[in-house]
């Protein structure tokens, strides 16, 4: 983990990070969904800025209810960074897994002032928790 941690701080290694995280996302598929841990990670980490509630307004950060499958920078009640607006594709579980490991490296220029969730199991759990909210 510590080797990866060092790597995460070096933007040049961003592409390596994507590869590493791609493997992690396979792990997501194979790991049983730990919603309780995901709720805990959300509360400890994400809830500082994000709300995840159907229909709620964004505040310090976008409402991330329903984020899986959503287009980046797509809520009308939040002003996103230019970098995030330029991001293509959709927030799949795999894409989110890469992003939340180190937002500043994955989307340089994002307004998200957060160093990232380093434990792969915690990332999988919080993504799984977010998915579970919609069920």
């Amino acid at each position: 983990m510590s080797g990866l941690e060092v790597g995460l701080r070096v933007p040049l290694l961003a592409s390596a990070l994507v590869l590493v995280s791609a493997f992690s996302s396979f792990a997501i598929g194979g790991t049983p969904c730990n919603v309780a841990r995901g709720r805990q990670v959300f509360s400890n980490t994400c809830a500082m800025c994000h709300i995840a509630q159907k229909g709620a307004a964004s505040a310090a950060a976008p409402n991330i209810y329903g984020v899986i499958g959503r287009k980046p920078a797509s809520l009308s009640d939040f002003t996103y960074s230019t970098a995030m607006k330029a991001r293509k594709g959709r927030w799949t579980a795999a894409a989110l897994n890469v992003f939340i490991a180190n937002p500043q490296v994955t989307v340089p220029g994002t307004y998200m002032a957060f160093t990232g969730i380093k434990r792969a199991t915690d990332r999988a759990a919080v993504i799984c928790y977010l998915e579970s909210l919609e069920k």
Partner: protein, 489 residues
């Protein structure tokens, strides 16, 4: 005195008009009743009919931290048509109270004290006097420092010796800062000592290893920067002078009391009281001064005009905004080079009750200073100020646990969090200590009004406790007064 120092142009002073204006708006506010935000917007327009001209507003305040909110409230109460633009989706700037694992925490500026005149006035005004003391500072039971890589726990005698290092370090504070709210009062002394670094001063003192470690870690938390990078001795002395040159006020005013209601509640009360028209998520990209008007353009929005702008963004952010004509070179240089890089504040919940601790680690040991913030039924919430961004990951339990185990080898981290002010483009750091030599080079030039742009914010110019919530409010209040005199004169 530097050449940059000029008195602002004499305002077309009319104290009578200003006071009349204030009275009228207060009256309108009272009549307008309880729905402040909605009611008051409509009331703004008639107040400055004589100045309506072609500008959309009389004043645009850029930045919705404490400085901006105060400036906007006061302008509005003085009868000026006022708009507050804030880049983020919330008010508060570099203060940000939120929840971590269900506990109320302050991720940014937080500590307040009754010796701080501007913030205390607001706290009393809005009835938010209920304070939460941090037990690690208010009633400490254990002091541990990392000395030459080893854990040293202070015994009773050493506990008595440690505070004695502080008056030694700060011995010249009263000479440089006989009036710490007035930088010009002993300007010659400040210039003479301006280039001296904290590290140079520490080297001149004879200290025990424990005193040395505690003092260095504390100075690094004051500058929020490792001493090895070069931090301002002069500015350290100002903090001590503000704290009445004594250790107990220093500990009490800087690190003990937070607002039970939170900084967010206070800043929202200030804005609501002024019935300020606020636009959130409106980062200002461009400010253009024309002959009789200033045009302010938030990103992706239409330009807005005003007769004056009060700029309250942190100095480091100025370099990334567009100004036409360009800002004075001294301001841009101050923005790029005038302030030290800053570290991070973190909150960590650990298993069990570790007691009321104070832990100190000089920069090479990464943790900075840490103390008990709250004792919980089966755990302890610690808060820390680490001097160097990137030295460890305060959002990662494993990384944080490794660093904190220097103080307590059995410690188990349950959860940990930190807001990366460094990565937030609207702050680019935490509080901003001037670099050594920064006073002589930048102090007056940075604070100098430029045409219709007035310089607010907590780190700029003289007001009250510069660099603190108090200084933000004090400076906002002062700039609102200057703008009001100018526009209503």
């Amino acid at each position: 005195m530097t050449q940059d120092r000029k008195s602002p142009p004499t305002p077309r002073l009319s104290r009578r008009k200003l006071l009349e204006g204030a009275g009228l708006v207060y009256a309108a506010g009272t009549v307008g009743g309880l729905s402040l935000a909605a009611g008051a917007r409509a009331e703004t327009a008639p107040r400055s009919k004589s100045h309506a001209g072609q500008a959309d507003y009389d004043v645009i305040v850029v930045g919705g931290g404490f400085s901006g909110a105060t400036a906007a409230r006061d302008c509005r109460k003085n009868g000026l048509r006022t708009l507050l633009l804030e880049a983020r989706g919330r008010l508060g700037g570099r203060t940000f109270d939120t929840h971590f694992n269900g506990r109320h925490v302050e991720m940014g500026g937080s500590y307040v004290h009754w010796t701080q005149p501007a913030v205390w006035t607001e706290i009393v005004r809005y009835g938010l006097e209920e304070l939460e003391p941090a037990p690690g500072i208010a009633s400490p039971e254990q002091m541990v420092a990392v000395v030459d890589g080893k854990r040293v726990e202070a015994n009773a005698q050493e506990l008595g010796e440690v505070p004695a290092a502080f008056p030694l370090y700060f011995a010249d504070s009263a000479r440089l800062w006989p009036r710490p709210y007035d930088t010009d009062h002993a300007w010659g002394e400040i210039v003479r000592h301006d280039k001296m670094t904290a590290a140079e001063r520490v080297r001149k003192l004879e200290l025990t290893p424990l005193q040395h470690a505690v003092l260095v870690a504390t100075l690094e938390s004051m500058a929020h920067c490792p001493l090895a990078r070069g931090t301002s001795y002069t500015d350290n002395l100002r903090w001590w002078a503000l704290c009445l040159n004594n250790f107990s006020t220093y500990a009490e005013a800087l690190a003990t009391y937070t607002l039970k209601a939170g900084t967010g509640e206070l800043v929202r009360r200030i804005a609501a009281d002024g019935a300020v028209e606020v636009r959130l998520s409106a980062p200002v990209q461009r400010i253009e001064q024309r002959e009789d008007v200033v045009i302010v353009t938030p990103r992706d929005r239409r330009p807005i005009s005003a007769k004056a702008v009060i700029l309250t963004v942190p100095p480091k952010v100025l370099q990334h905004m567009e100004f036409h004509p360009t800002l004075a070179a001294v301001k841009l240089e101050a923005s790029r080079r005038g302030f030290s890089p800053s570290g991070f504040k973190y909150f960590t919940e650990v298993k069990g009750r570790v007691g009321n601790v104070q832990w100190y680690a000089p920069a090479r040991y990464r943790a900075g200073i840490v103390w008990t913030y709250q004792t919980l039924p089966n755990s302890t919430l610690l808060t820390g100020y680490a001097p160097e961004a990137g030295s460890f990951d305060p959002n990662d339990e494993d990384s944080t646990q490794r660093v904190l185990r220097q103080f307590d080898p059995g410690l188990e981290v349950i959860a940990t969090t930190s807001y990366s002010w460094d990565d937030d483009p609207f702050s680019l750091g935490t509080y901003s200590g001037p670099v050594p030599g920064g006073y002589s080079k930048y102090f007056h030039g940075l604070a100098q009004r430029e045409g219709r742009i007035y310089m607010g914010g907590s780190d700029i110019g003289d007001a009250t406790w510069r660099g603190f919530i108090d200084g933000a409010i004090g400076r906002g209040m002062k700039m609102a007064h200057e703008v009001s005199l100018e526009l209503l004169g």
